[in-house]
């Protein structure tokens, strides 16, 4: 092959690859643009002050009320309660797999846990509604049919494999020499795990936490099915609530007119959701950069 031809091929491949990379960038720009565009129109009709201070969300009522706070608290309630399930259980699983399990046990358990991550979220939604909720109601009779706790448990189970798998990867990447150093000083497995490996893998563990929380904030099907459709500032986990995503999917499924104010609320709420997850991701990047250990 001549040198010229070789150089041409190199160039061609580079151009094609740049094209591939630019697709995701253009898509992101497109999404942000369409969100912001509709959101600006929304705020020309609804006061931004009302949007962020009113505590009543009833966009399709007459008279309508556009206070997004109940949706934000609903979302945060799901994020917090699901984190109480996914973070400790996920980290515990990771510690077991990385520090306690033999390689044989690990080879069996890890794929099973990762299988959980492959289950579609709608399946978790029905699991919450038809299994977790009746179970909760059997010993907490005051629980609503649609409630935040049941959905949170399902979201927590769904995000657990992400925490477990990413945290385990982070812990496994701590060099064995450090582990041996700790054992040689007379440490038990638990001491090595808690006082050496977890701190050394902190940046990876923290990023898995943030990803799981982000995922919980953005989760749609489970909360749409199991958490209810009642925008509420109440932080009672046994009551029905509505999240930002839950509201958006409801509106999208309903027969609202394109261009109507109800339609635009979807974009306004979407923008809030976007900003919240963006902040979470930036925060994760900051935590990772600050705590990264280079071996």
């Amino acid at each position: 092959m001549t040198k010229k031809k070789y150089l041409f091929q190199e160039k061609l491949i580079e151009v094609v690859l740049v094209l591939f990379a630019s697709i995701s960038i253009l898509t992101t720009i497109g999404i942000v643009f369409s969100l912001l565009f509709e959101t600006m129109i929304f705020f020309s009709e609804v006061s931004i002050f009302e949007f962020f201070t009113s505590i009543r969300w009833a966009p399709v009522f007459d008279p309508p009320s556009f206070g997004v706070l109940p949706l934000i608290t609903g979302t945060l309630l799901i994020a917090i309660l699901s984190s109480l399930v996914s973070l400790p259980l996920g980290l515990g699983t990771a510690i077991f797999l990385s520090e306690f399990a033999s390689s044989k046990v690990r080879k069996v358990i890890k794929p099973i846990i990762e299988l959980l991550a492959g289950i579609p979220s709608i399946v978790y939604g029905f699991f919450a509604l038809t299994f977790i909720t009746p179970l909760l109601r059997s010993f907490l009779p005051n629980t609503d049919i649609f409630n935040a706790l049941s959905a949170s448990i399902a979201v927590g189970i769904m995000t657990l494999p992400m925490v477990a798998s990413l945290s385990e990867d982070a812990m496994m990447s701590v060099p064995n020499s450090i582990r041996q150093g700790a054992y040689a000083l007379g440490s038990t497995k638990l001491e090595v795990a808690i006082h050496v490996i977890v701190p050394a893998a902190f940046s990876g563990i923290a990023s898995s936490f943030v990803l799981a929380i982000s995922r919980a904030i953005g989760e749609t099907m489970i909360v749409a099915i199991a958490a209810g459709q009642t925008p509420s500032m109440s932080l009672n986990p046994l009551g029905s609530i509505q999240t930002m995503t839950g509201f958006m999917v409801n509106m999208a499924l309903g027969d609202i007119q394109q261009g109507s104010i109800e339609f635009k609320t979807v974009f306004a709420v979407g923008s809030v959701l976007f900003v919240i997850t963006l902040i979470m991701n930036l925060f994760a990047k900051y935590v990772i950069a600050k705590n990264r250990e280079v071996y």
Binding site: S177, Y183, A184, S187
Partner: protein
Amino acid sequence: MTVKVKVENLNFYYGDFQALKNINIEIHENKITALIGPSGCGKSTFIKTIDRMYDLIEDTRADGHILFDEMDILKSDVDVVELRKRIGMVFQKPNPFPKSISENVLYAVKRHGDVNKVAFNEIVENSLRKASLWDEVKSKLHQSAFSLSGGQQQRLCIARTLATKPEVILMDEPTSALDPIATSKIEELLQELKKEYTVIIVTHSMQQAARISDYTGFFLNGELIEFGNTKDIFTNPKDKRTEDYITGRYG
């Protein structure tokens, strides 16, 4: 002279592979015992049996006896956590924890409790002084251990081991990753340490063994070929294979 560790008929296996064959050796208290031999001869495996570090490797087993004072280390009911506090180990590559310098020294002390916080500063200073590192780090005890040079990191690892007040210190080629100046500092340090501790050091450098040790053992293919006074081994080896090795015919 007191025997600190007495090894009798020790065999060691990685799966089906026999890495140590019928080892018998006596380690004397407050002396430096050097173990030499070509790569893969079993010298590193041997010191891993003394603090049961091989427990961490799957599919390994040892038989025979290793008497540490009166206790047989190889018995299954030995508390290895307790054992490893009494027998410390320094590794080939410096392996400080990703923590501050003082936290590295205090790691084991904090885990093993029963020391009050007032004593912490004293332990940090004493341990670092014994490892001849104090003067170099006293102004930056709260900086990351990774900010130190390789030689300093290795002395920090020694300090970290000293903080547990071990009786025996095992060293697995502790200077192989270090430059000559850092190496000579560690060698000087060893002469100080042997006043209080019993040291067993694996080294690939015969010159180092000759310089620093009181006793030397020569390993070859999992067997202890010859063991005795360092002076005798290097000037008047009894076994032909030892002579070949120290005169540089293989290795």
